[in-house]
Structure formats: C-alpha cells, structure tokens
C-alpha cells in the first residue's frame, strides 16, 4: 500500500472558529500544517458595485456592514473621503463626537475579538465578561444614533445629531425586580456623557479582570507565545497594518503618524510589541483598550465644556434641519434635492484612510462629477492579513491555525465586501 504523505482537510465555511463564512483548505502532514488555501467570497455581496448605483447619502449605510463589529470606524473613512473631495470643514464638536465614537468602536471591536479569541482557545468565561461590557457600548451607540449596531451616524459634514441629554432606561416588567431595575438604571440617570463617564471609571478595572484571567495564565501563554511569528520586514511586505504591524515593533498608528480628525490634540500612547507573535498581539490590544479609555475621557471632558454645531454649514451638501425646512423655502428645496438626486462630487479621485481597530481602513473614490461614485474601492484591513495565513501557519500544529486565525481578527464582511 502506498504511504500517504499529506492529506487535505476542509475547515469551514460553517465552523464556529472560522469567524464567519471562511473556508480553509488545510494541507496537513500528520498534525503539522503544510499550507492553507483560504477560500473567501462566501459573503461577497458586491457592495462596491451596488454603491456605484446609489447616491453618496444612500451608500453610508453600506459602510456599517463592511466590518460589522466596528461600524463607525468604517463610516469615518467614508465621510472623510467625501469631505476631502468637497472641501468641507467639520465643526470641532462633531470631530470630538466622532473621535469619541471611534474609540467606543475600537473598544467594541477589541472586546468582541478578545472574547472570541479566548473562546477559540477554550477560555469560556472571558467571552462572557467581554460581552457584558460590550453591551454598555452598544447602549451608547443606541442612545446617540438610534441603532445598536448599524448606526449610520457619521454624516458628511459632521454627525447625524448631537449627543442626547438623557439615557434610555430599562422599563419595569414582571421578570425584573424593583432592585434589579434600579441597579440596571443606576448609571442611566444623567446624560449620555454621564453614562460614558461612569463606564470610563469602571472599565479599567474590568480590563484588569481580563488580564487576571489571561495575561499570566500558563495555558494562554503556551498556546500563544511563539505562535504565528512574523518579522518586521515581512509584515511590511505583506501589507500588514494595525496590530499585526505593531506587534512586530513598528510604531505605526495613523492616529499618530498621519493624524486626522482631532487626534493631534489628544494625548495617548501607541503600544508596540517585540516578538510579533499571537501573545504580543493580545498584549497590544489590551494596552490599546486602556489608551482608548484615556482618549474617551479627554473627549468627554471637552464635549462637556464646548457646546456648538454638529454639522457643517454647507446647505448644498448637508441636509437642513427639520425645523429649518418647515419655514424656509431654500431649505425645503435643498432637502428635496439632497434626498432625491443627492449631491455631486467634483471630478477627481481621493483616498482616505483611518486607523480602524483592525488596521488601515481606506476608501478610494473615483468621481466623474456625478451624484454617485464612478468607482469606489474599500481597502479592508483584514484582507492582507488573511492573505498571509498560509505563511503564518506553516509548520504549526492544526490547533494553532485557530489561534493564528483568531489573532488576525478578520471579519468576512470587510474581507469579502
């Protein structure tokens, strides 16, 4: 009988550790990975093509659905591209609200990642703790935008509306005792900013809890240290950004190196790794969460002191307020035109990028002067990371594939588009 040297197994597309609909064809020799051929596109919805047939305002909602765990970070890149093209100056208050929500989004992304990472490696409880804390962040989304996930909150020229003065509260029901209800509503008595502030106060302690569970955990270290190592030079040539690049020791964070919005007015640090392995990626993201909390605190303090407009004064692009529309003919016309035809971009092209929680998220728009993009390309952060999985996993055991895949933090919504 001929001796089999290697064999191929199918991982996904319906596998809980595949982080969505990802199919991996893994060639193994024994339990050692020889190569991996990822088959993506099972979530390909042709969003870029669809956006070529929609006005710019209509396309905003698609951006929530790229990386559907960091919605507002995607929107940020899109509205920045349009504003660059239209030369619109965003009011400072809107910039601070955007940065505040960009950091809330970063925490949301990192929490869901940390939970899933732990779960993939067998740490069930960290998943539950992460989702408990993420729910507060979803409540912030909901209070500001009306939607827990697909917010469509960042608009060209600012944000959809100002931060609310009250937080929505839990209603009484037969399965909530009075005490339970009072506990749930305890930090929802004030405004959204009060709610965020109370979160900022308790969250560093929660990060300590996660660290107690994982950072010095012997099993965790054995599973992640020295796994999926990538060198500095190789990370650059593979197009890695975000935590994948920083884990190799390159202090590259667009918020610092090419500051956008009001990041240059805020103080925070960029954590970098040393070894470029899965453990460093974990440590970096824990540190990033602490930095995000610092940024959020600065934004909350600033926003308390500085009321002001949250949308740019650009009537040809920004739809008028409801009140204004009712008693102003010009505003009425603008409202009608903007919600039927939409606004047109000047002819030209633009690329805008943000430091998305997963890396660099970029939007490239080619406009021929029409009310819809001629071509729009989304540079998803996870795409080059997933492309390198074969190289990262080569020589590791089958169980490490899950570790490495998890540490990349991919979301198929943005990889497949």
């Amino acid at each position: 009988m001929a001796k089999e040297h290697s064999y191929t197994i199918n991982f996904g597309p319906q596998h809980p550790a595949a982080h969505g609909v990802l199919r991996l064809l893994i060639t193994l020799e024994g339990e050692t990975v020889q190569s991996i051929d990822p088959h993506i596109g099972l979530l390909h919805r042709g969003t870029e093509k669809l956006m070529e047939h929609k006005t710019y305002l209509q396309s905003g909602g698609y951006f929530d659905r790229f990386c559907y765990v960091s919605m507002m970070a995607n929107e940020h890149a899109y509205v920045m591209a349009l504003e660059k093209m239209l030369a619109i100056k965003v009011p400072e208050r809107a910039e601070y609200i955007r940065v505040l929500f960009a950091e809330i989004t970063r925490l949301m992304n990192h929490l869901i990642w940390l939970g899933a990472y732990g779960l993939d490696l067998g740490a069930m409880s960290v998943f539950l703790y992460c989702f408990r804390d993420r729910d507060d962040l979803l409540a912030m989304y909901e209070a500001a935008s009306g939607a827990r996930m697909h917010a469509n909150y960042f608009r060209v020229g600012g944000v959809w509306r100002d931060l609310p003065h009250t937080m929505p509260k839990y209603q009484s029901s037969s399965w909530k005792s009075k005490k339970k209800l009072a506990d749930l509503n305890a930090d929802r008595q004030g405004s959204l900013l009060d709610f965020i502030e109370s979160f900022i106060e308790r969250f560093p302690g929660r990060i300590d809890d996660y660290e107690t569970l994982l950072t010095d955990n012997r099993i965790w270290k054995q599973r992640t240290q020295g796994v999926g190592v990538v060198s500095k030079e190789r990370a650059m040539s593979l197009g890695f950004t975000g935590h994948m690049l920083r884990s190799t020791g390159v202090a590259w964070d667009l918020r610092k190196t090419q500051p956008y919005s009001v990041y240059d007015k805020l103080t925070f640090d960029v954590p970098v790794g040393v070894n470029g392995d899965c453990y460093d990626r974990y440590i970096i993201r824990i540190a990033e969460m602490r930095e995000s909390v610092k940024i959020m605190k600065q934004c909350v303090d600033w926003l308390r002191e500085h009321p002001g407009p949250i949308l740019a004064d650009a009537p040809k692009v920004v739809p008028p307020s409801r009140d204004h529309m009712k008693d102003n003919m010009e505003a009425m016309i603008h409202h009608f035109k903007l919600h039927t035809e939409g606004f047109s971009l000047p002819r030209g092209e633009v690329y805008s990028a943000v430091e998305h929680p997963k890396g660099e998220f970029g939007v490239y728009i080619v406009s021929d002067g029409a009310n819809m993009p001629y071509r729009i390309k989304v540079r998803a952060a996870g795409f080059p990371h997933l492309a390198a999985i074969s190289e990262l996993c080569k020589g590791h055991l089958l169980a490490d594939v899950v570790t490495i895949l998890s540490s990349l933090d991919i979301v198929l919504g943005e990889v497949d588009r």
Partner: protein, 221 residues
C-alpha cells in the same frame, strides 16, 4: 524635497497632485521597473503596497439623466442605456490603481497603470508580496491578467462564475440566478428574471456648486 519632486526626478510617467495626494501614471510596460525603483530608491522607499484595484473607464462621464441641453428637447430626459460613445474618457479603458505607503518617510502615493487592449500587466507580487490577493481580486472582478502571477484564480465570486462583475458593461442584476431544482435534485442556473430598475438616475452637475474644489472640476466637455 517632497515626494512629487522625487517622482519627477525618476523621469518616468506623469506625476500629478490633487487634494495633496500624489499620483504617478505609467504604462503597463514600464510598471515593473518603476515599481522596483519606487521600492528601492532611498528617497522614495515605498515599503508597502496597501491596495491595488482595477478601474473600468468605459462609461466615465456618462449620465443616465441629462441635466444640460434637455430643456429644448422634450421632457424625456432619461436614457435607458448608458452610451459608451458619450464617455468623456480619452485614456485607456482599464486602469490598475495601487496605493503605496512609505513607512520610512511617512509618505503615500498612488500608482496608476494604464492597460492596453490586451488588459494585462506584469504581476507586482515579486516587488510587493501583498499584491498577490489584490491581483486575484482585480482578475476576478475585472478580468485583468497579471503575468507571472503565482496563483491567478478567482477569489471573491462563486465557484464556476462566468463574467467579470465589476466591469461597467456587466449588469447590476447579474446574468444568472440560482435556484434549487427538486426534479434534478441539484442547484441550477437560469437567466435572471428581474430587470434592472434605477430609482435615482445618475446625473452629472456642472453648476459650479463646489468651485475651486479639486483641480479638475468644471472642465467638463
């Protein structure tokens, strides 16, 4: 010396700058040598290829709803089909656009490659390995051939997909639809049963609403 001057010094292609973003436009023949010098030239040193995508300029500047010259014709301003001969694009139909980043100099640039009728160019995977998947994507969606590519297969579309969906002459509703056929007990493909409906017509405004924004605005033929 800024990046645009460095690129001019290279002496290849056309350097342009708009909205503070530098572009270098070259032909497919010179792309490999230019890419190599962009990566190795110490004054430019583009260490990373962040993005690569195709662009199809077939209907560039074509509107489905006439905004000018319509008043003295009739009320019928809509066009059912875009007409490619109305395109104002004079360059090559297909372009490959790469976004490059130099971490060393903290600079970005755009590399635009004009493709000739063969719709092919040499693969950049030897210079920037990150381009492997991006080129597969451009091949899948636009049908652009990348020569010497290590693994040029479709990537995003379905197994057995026919056509290049991001090309402008590929309909938005697609060409086939899939259903499960209980008689033959398998999935079968039929021609699409739906028609494309445009709810918002594509229209081009040249009314100088955004004057002095973007250097090329207001140049419409």
């Amino acid at each position: 010396m800024n990046i645009a001057d460095e690129l001019r010094e290279l002496g290849q292609g056309i350097v342009s700058e708009s909205l503070g973003q530098v572009s270098l436009q070259i032909s497919a023949e010179e792309v490999l040598s230019v890419a190599k010098s962009l990566k190795t030239n110490p004054a430019i040193k583009m260490n990373m290829l962040l993005d690569l995508c195709g662009v199809d300029y077939l209907y560039y500047g074509v509107e489905s709803w006439q905004t000018e010259g319509a008043c003295h014709q009739s009320y019928c301003r809509a066009r059912a089909e875009p007409l490619s001969e109305n395109s104002v694009w004079t360059g090559a139909r297909f372009q490959v656009v790469c976004h490059l980043l130099s971490i060393t100099h903290n600079q970005r640039m755009r590399l635009k490659v004009d493709l000739d009728d063969s719709v092919s160019m040499p693969s950049l995977s030897g210079v920037w390995p990150s381009s492997v998947w991006y080129e597969r994507e451009a091949f899948d969606l636009f049908g652009i051939q990348f020569k010497q590519h290590p693994d040029l297969r479709r990537i995003l579309t379905d197994y057995g997909f026919v056509g290049f969906p991001m090309r402008k002459d590929f309909p938005l509703v697609g060409r086939v639809e899939m259903r499960y056929d209980s008689q033959s007990a398998q999935c079968v493909y039929d021609p699409v049963s739906i028609e494309y409906q445009s709810h918002v017509p594509r229209m081009i405004r040249n009314d100088h609403r955004y004057v002095d924004v973007g250097e090329e605005s207001g140049e419409r033929a």
